[in-house]
Each structure stands twice: as C-alpha cells, then as structure tokens.
Amino acid sequence: MRQVYLDYSATTPVKEDVLKEMIPYFTENFGNPSSLYTIGAASKEAIEKARTQVAKLIHAQEKELFFTSSGTEADNWAVLGAADTLKAKGNHIITTKIEHHAMLHSCEYLEKHGYEVTYLDVKPDGRVDPEALKAAITDKTILISIMFVNNEIGTVEPIKELAAIAKERGILFHTDAVQALGNVPIDVKDLGVDLMSISAHKIYGPKGIGALYIRKGVKLSNFIHGGGQESKKRAGTENLPGIVGFGKAAELAGENLDSHVAKISGLRDYFIDQITSKIENVTVNGSREFRHPGNANLTFEFIEGEAMLLYLDLRGIAVSTGSACSSASLSPSHVLSAIGVPVENIHGSLRFTVGDFTTKEDLDYVVTELVEVVNKLRNISSISKTKGW
C-alpha cells in the first residue's frame, strides 16, 4: 500500500544529508563543547558553525541566536523571561487566540502569577487586525507575542506591521516563527522583531532542538539556570548532534527556500482544487492569500475528523485533525473556533500539509481515497445537507 505522509506541519523526517552530518558527533566527535581540550574545542566549533547556518536563515547575527531544546522552550523562555525581566515596568501581555499551546499555556501560567493577558481575536481569515492590537495596548503592556504562521490553518500574520506598532510604543515584540521557518522568507532586522522562536524538526532537522533569537541589546531573564553554556544565557550540556543537525537543515532550507515554496504550494493548490471539485460541502479554512505554502485546512461537513483520520490511516495516509476527539484534551481546536468555524464543523476539519517528499501521485491517491472515505462516512452520518443537523 502506498504510504502518504501529509502532516509536515506536525513534524518532518530528518533528511539524509542532515543525519549524515550529525552521526560523527554521537561517537568520535563527542567531546563536551565546554571543555578546553582539542575534542571539546572541535565540538564548540561545530556548534558555532551551526549557529552561523541557522542565523543566516533568519538574517540574524550569530550572537543573537541561542539554542534551546525546542520551539516550545523558546516560546516559554521568551514570554516567561520577558515577564520576569520587565515586571517592574508592568504586568500586561498581549497575544492572540490562535497561538500555539506553548504560548497559551505559558500565558495561563503567568495569569496565575499576577500578570494580565489579552488574547486578541483574529479576523475570519485568521489574521490579526493591527487596529485591534493598537487598541489593546495599555501603560502596563510589557510584551506582545504574535505568531508568524499559524500551525493549524497556516495563516501568515502581518508581523512587520505589528512589530512596528510595538516598537512605536517601546514594547518588546516576540514572534513564534516555528511554522514560518523554511516556509516564508525571514529577515529579523527587516521584520523588526525583538524575540523569535524556531524549531529544527519542522525543517527536516531533528526533534528536540530549537532556538530563540534575542535581538542584540534586549535584556531577558534566563529560563534554564546552570552552567555557562550559550554565552551564559541557556544552561545544560549542549545537544551537540542536534545543534549540528539544525545547522545543516537550516542551510538546506535556505538554499531550497524558493524551490521548496514553489513546489509545495503548487501541490497544495492542486490538492485543494481536486478536493473541492470532487467533494461537496468542503470549505477551506483561513486566508488563501497569506498562507503557509504547504497547508490545506479543510472542513468536511457532516462527518467527524477522528473517524476520517483513522479511515485514512488504514489506507496509509497520515493527516491531522482539529477535532477534539483526536487530542488528549477533547476540546475542539481553539484556532478554528477563533476564526468562527462552527463547532460542528470543527469536528469535521482536517489539516493536510504537503512537504518536500510529497508527489503529485501521492496526492492523486489521497484524493481518490478521500472521496471514498468521505462518502462512506457521510453515509453513516446522522447529519446531512438535506436533513440538517
């Protein structure tokens, strides 16, 4: 049976070239980068090379980039660190309703510790309204955190515009660019952001390694305390092979950016066209224009996402859902809620994300199977267009 992975936004396989770079750092070149002797120094050099590679992809200086264990840790560091650093100045944070849980749950933690958080609504296309941001700012606002690209519906936010508003008011601006990295061009200077989170496993690098960009001059409390690693800003023996892998993945992502975007957006558009022409009562969630090149978030009315997901899985197809039923929490996608998708439709939503290893044949196979699956499940369903809910 054909195996088709269409969940590249969840995670990506490590590319062979990336793994090849990593391997020696597990065994021969395993020295602790903090050690003074030769094999330690060689590890240190490998880390600095990777830092250059990753910094280049976002047009940052090497000194502005600090490796973390994940995008999640980078998000936690940014918001908890800023809250701690700036607590004398204020206790108000602005973010959005569509952030990743790494941001939302960090904010909830802060709310339990004396901070106030405004969660901005987004427009039906998933984009933040700059006027809404302006209106939310108070004298006590110390941080604005708005994601660059949403992980569920793929919406690209107007970060440059939003960061400019923050700058004008002298407020720190963070963006979660985990989904943006490698999928949209990123230039931290041009964007004008102060802090930015990224992660390797979304760009064909390894899991368990991320980074936080901290603009030169920005003060931020440490989050993980201990040894003097990462210029004394992030403690813990460095994940040497992980960092090397992130570096190589970033280099490849930079080289391939244009072709990658052209390829996957072409495939994605083809896929959406096929599905919407072959299946009725399907809607595309989120802006078509400002969108992650590989993302197709679709609502199939009258059926439930988990059922579709499992049927597709049996046909070798891997996708994800915004449905409550497929997550440990059973609460329906907060992102689809925020853009106004009715709860019953949220249950019928699937996220397909196309990536570098996807082929047109894969998609043709998925379309065929999906038509079958949707028909089958709609047949079983107690709801339909004619009958209503």
């Binding site: 003074l36 030769t38 120094a41």
Partner: protein
C-alpha cells in the same frame, strides 16, 4: 587548541628564559598563587642595559607565554625602554590573547617593573618609569581583579 594562537602555544610549550639568575642585579615577584598566577623575574643589568632575564611562573598557558615573550622583549633594552614595555605590547607580540586572559599579561609587565624597582633600590638609581610604582600596593589590585571575575 582553539583557545590560544600558535605563537602563544609555542611560547607556552617551549618557553624561553626559564630559570633563575645567580647574582641577579634585580629580582621581582608579582601576583599571587591564590589568583592562580605568580611570576618571578630576575634581571642582569650592565651599563643600564638589560643583558639577561630569566623567569619562573606559576600560572596558566597565557601567563607562561606572556612571561616567555616579555623576557625576550626586554633583553637588550635599556632600563628606560624596558620600563616602557606595556602589557598591550606583550599581547601584540603574542599575536593576541583571549579576552578573559588579558590580565595574565599584566602580570609580566608588573613583574618586570618589580625587578627593575629592586635593581634601582639596590643601586640607588631612579627612573622616570618607576614614578608612583609600588610593587606591594599593586598586588592588592591584582588580587581584587582575580577575585571578582
């Protein structure tokens, strides 16, 4: 070794002028084992020219290399010229030192002054470069700086 350049490593591995001079004309010690660095310099002076110098140093790679290159530098200089040698020149001569190791070259520069001070005391001489130089007072400064960082 990425930490030190080749020239530093060479002076560190094969230091010049190691030892002590019998019947030294001047002898100075600077630093403190507590800080991890202590240097002793002996000098031989003839007609106001430093004819020979030897050192002994307890310290890191940078301290040993600085001692080696500093003694090389002052041999053949007049006392006044030797007094004018700065730690910056020592660092330049070594082709640079890591930022956190800069203080180790200060050690050599002070030890030279201490040795000349001793020579001046013994021979009733006075040099412009020694004005305001107090070997003991400075030692406290150095001690402070080694404790803070």
């Amino acid at each position: 070794m990425a930490m030190y350049n080749d020239k530093v490593m060479d002076h560190f591995m094969n230091p010049h002028n190691v030892g002590e001079l019998e019947n030294a004309d001047g002898s100075g010690t600077y630093g403190s084992p507590v800080c991890g660095d202590m240097m002793k310099i002996d000098i031989k002076v003839e007609d106001d020219v430093i004819k020979d110098a030897k050192f002994k140093t307890f310290g890191c790679g940078s301290a040993i290399a600085s001692s080696s290159v500093a003694t090389d530098m002052i041999i053949g200089l007049t006392v006044d010229e030797a007094l004018a040698v700065t730690n910056k020149q020592i660092i330049n001569e070594l082709g640079g030192l890591p930022a956190i190791k800069i203080h180790c070259s200060v050690l050599a520069d002070h030890a030279i002054k201490s040795a000349i001070y001793d020579y001046a005391q013994k021979n009733g001489k006075s040099y412009k470069g020694l004005e305001g130089f107090d070997p003991d007072a400075d030692e406290d400064d150095h001690h402070d700086s080694c404790e803070v960082e």
